[in-house]
Every structure is written in structure tokens, then in C-alpha cells.
Symmetry: C2
């Protein structure tokens, strides 16, 4: 469970208990799922109440990065050293079986546990922010205006190391009971895809500015 | 904040604090977002650790429904009356501003708080399971084999009433600083869509079974 950039602990907490065959613990699999999306759901508890907040993230080496407004409730709880859970899920298909019971989803998910650490040094903060942006669209960070002093001060950046993590994956057709196989019911998979539609340029965009190559590359990646 | 099927309490906990203009509390808006997707992330806390688990759900009137294997860790915690948080998020676009700081997402999210209640009566359980299936693909539940005794016993079904909920929505173009408007940077929105690709029929599907109308209807709904 080790690679050049980190180590993953397969603790009892992280172990996939329901459908253990769908559980994966190698970092390569975990990284691939994290890199195929850019929104995670962060779970934390404050005064006995659990909160789940969707947020954009980036990954580099053995950590994920995310940011928010300095004073946000969630980031205050994270700063206090809370044991958080970060979950990423990608739905790849709806699995239609002959019986209601065997309906399922094809999906890839990752669950990470740990304590998030705040990144406070300016250069590391800027690097993490670039990483989040490029995780969403590779190449974007080279083009935009970087955060100024005021903007950087207003932004808190956190990392969560990937060292207590699991992936769960289901692929393939429905698995029905033998006695249902002759039923007159359509069975199969409807693939679900997250795609990018034609970019809509800002009304006030200078007429000379054409769609940059890295956005064209992104569109190719995210087409049907 | 009331409609025919329920009432939503805008408690301090549920109030959208960051970007309050993006907060909505009317049930119509909340229902619409819940109905536009079928996977939620359930957050709960057990022995001081927060967990976030993605799961399919359905909505009918003023409640959402979800199910799982009877013995699952999550359902045990829910049965004990834990204060859970259920979050749904739909990403509609990547908002590319001229400055790094003003990058954003167009999204629609819902956060629900409450205690989930187990549904134990057979007929209500079956109805809730049908609701979950039809929430994913309308019409599917009429065609499939219903759960038998053993399957129904192995499945736990829960509802969470929608009475402490908020939605958060961002739409539209990037909002840049006045002084950045002349920059030579492409700005605009890349729309993101969740679409359904051509259904893949099960290898063992009887050759006479054609794609049913309700799946064709679904494909039309989920095309680009």
C-alpha cells in the first residue's frame, strides 16, 4: 500500500465493509478517482451536529488541497483539528436489473479521513491555489491574474494528506438471480457522463481574445 | 416558507452565511434541486469520527427516502437517532474569471438537517423503494420484479423529512474587479452537464426485449 509519494493505512475505519470486493486501497487507484473530478464533500462535526459541504479541490502528490473564505464556519472547525471525512463520488452508470433488489449504480468513490492542516506561508499557499485551479482545468493558472495581498489574506488554504483512504468501485452489468433471467424486463446499464458543453464567453470579453488552447484541450477531454 | 406539503424552518444552523444572496429556503426551489439528481451525501458521526457516504435517494412530497443493507454501519447510527446532514450538489458550470480570486462554480446545492426515521411497515417500505427507483428513472418500478420476503427483510429504508433545509445557487458569468476587465484573459463559463449515453443492454438479454419507452424518455431528458 505504498508508493513513492506516500503511504496509505488500511485501518478498520477505512476498510470497505459492505461489498468488500469493491474496495481498493492502492494510491494509484485513489489518485485516479480524485483526478477525474474536482468537487468533494467535506464532513465535519461542530457542537454535536454533522455538516457536509461541497467544495472544489485539487490534488498533488499525496495530498488534496482546498480553500475558502478565512472566516468560514467550516474552516474554523478544521483549524481546531477536527477529524474530518472527505468523500468524492463519480457516478458512471445506472445499473438496471430484472429485479428491483439488484438495481445498482456503477460508480467510483473515495473516502479520506484525517485532520486538515492550514497552509500559511505565502508561496506554499499560492502554489496550492494554483494546484486547485489546474486540477479543474490544466493550464488555467498560467493565464489569470494571481491573488493580490488583500485577496491572499482573505483566503484560507488547507491540505489533507492522503494516508487513511479507500476507494470503492463498481463496474459492469447487472447481476440478477438465476430464476429471474428469463423475465421480460429490459436489463443493462445506462452510462452517465459528466461532459462540458460549448463555452459561453463573458459579454464584456474583448473581441480579440480567442478561446485558449488549454480550454480546447479540456473540451476534448470532457466530450461525450 | 410553507407550501401544501410541508414547512421549512430557517434555523440559524441552516442559514446560508457565506454569500447569503445565494441562499434559498422555499420548498419549491429545494424540491427542484433534489429532483434533478439522485445521489446525496449523508454525513453522520460515530464515536467522534465524521463519515460522509454517497447514496441514491428518492423524494416524495416533503421527505427524501434512501435504503441500504440492514446491518450497515451508517444505518445503525441513523437508527440510534443521530443528527445527520444530507447534502446534494449539482455542478452546472466552471466560472472562469480574469483573476484567480474570482473563479467560481455555477452550482445548485441543498443541505438538509434532521433525524432519519426508519420505515418498517411492509407496504410503506415497498412504496418508498418504488419511489427511490422512479426518482432515478420514472416508470422503472412498474416493470421490474418487486422485492420478495427475503430481499425486503435484508433491506432497511429510511426517510428524512425536509423541514430544516436550505438551497444555495450560483448562476451567471464571472464577476471581475473593474480594473481587471481589460486583461488579455479569456473569461466566461464552461457549462457542465450530466448526460446519459447510449444504453448498453445486458449480454444475456432476451433478443425480443426492446428498449422500453420510459428509458427512451429518460434518454431524451438527459441528452446534451
Amino acid at each position: 500500500m505504498k508508493n513513492q509519494s506516500g503511504e496509505n493505512k488500511v485501518t478498520n475505519k477505512i476498510k470497505v465493509k459492505r461489498m468488500p470486493k469493491r474496495g481498493f486501497y492502492d494510491l494509484e487507484t485513489i489518485y485516479k478517482i480524485l483526478d477525474d473530478t474536482f468537487v468533494c464533500h467535506i464532513g465535519f462535526t461542530s457542537e454535536g451536529q454533522t455538516f457536509v459541504i461541497p467544495i472544489a479541490f485539487g490534488r498533488k502528490d499525496n495530498a488534496i488541497y482546498f480553500h475558502g473564505a478565512k472566516g468560514s464556519r467550516m474552516l474554523k472547525v478544521l483549524r481546531s483539528g477536527a477529524d474530518i471525512c472527505v468523500t468524492v463520488s463519480i457516478i458512471d452508470g445506472i445499473v438496471l436489473a430484472r429485479s428491483a433488489f439488484h438495481h445498482s449504480m456503477n460508480y467510483r468513490s473515495v473516502v479520506l479521513f484525517g485532520k486538515a492542516e492550514e497552509i500559511t506561508e505565502d508561496d506554499k499557499k499560492t502554489e496550492a491555489l494554483r494546484n486547485i485551479m489546474d486540477h479543474i482545468i490544466r493550464g488555467r493558472s498560467d493565464e489569470v491574474r494571481e491573488p493580490n495581498r488583500k485577496e491572499l489574506n482573505a483566503t484560507s488554504v488547507f491540505q489533507l494528506k492522503i494516508n487513511e483512504a479507500s476507494a470503492k468501485i463498481r463496474t459492469g452489468p447487472p447481476i440478477d438471480e438465476e430464476e429471474d433471467m428469463g423475465m421480460n424486463v429490459w436489463a443493462g446499464v445506462i452510462p452517465i457522463k459528466n461532459i462540458a458543453a460549448e463555452p459561453i464567453k463573458d459579454d464584456q470579453l474583448n473581441k480579440d481574445i480567442i478561446l485558449p488552447g488549454y480550454i480546447k484541450d479540456y473540451m476534448k477531454l470532457k466530450q461525450l
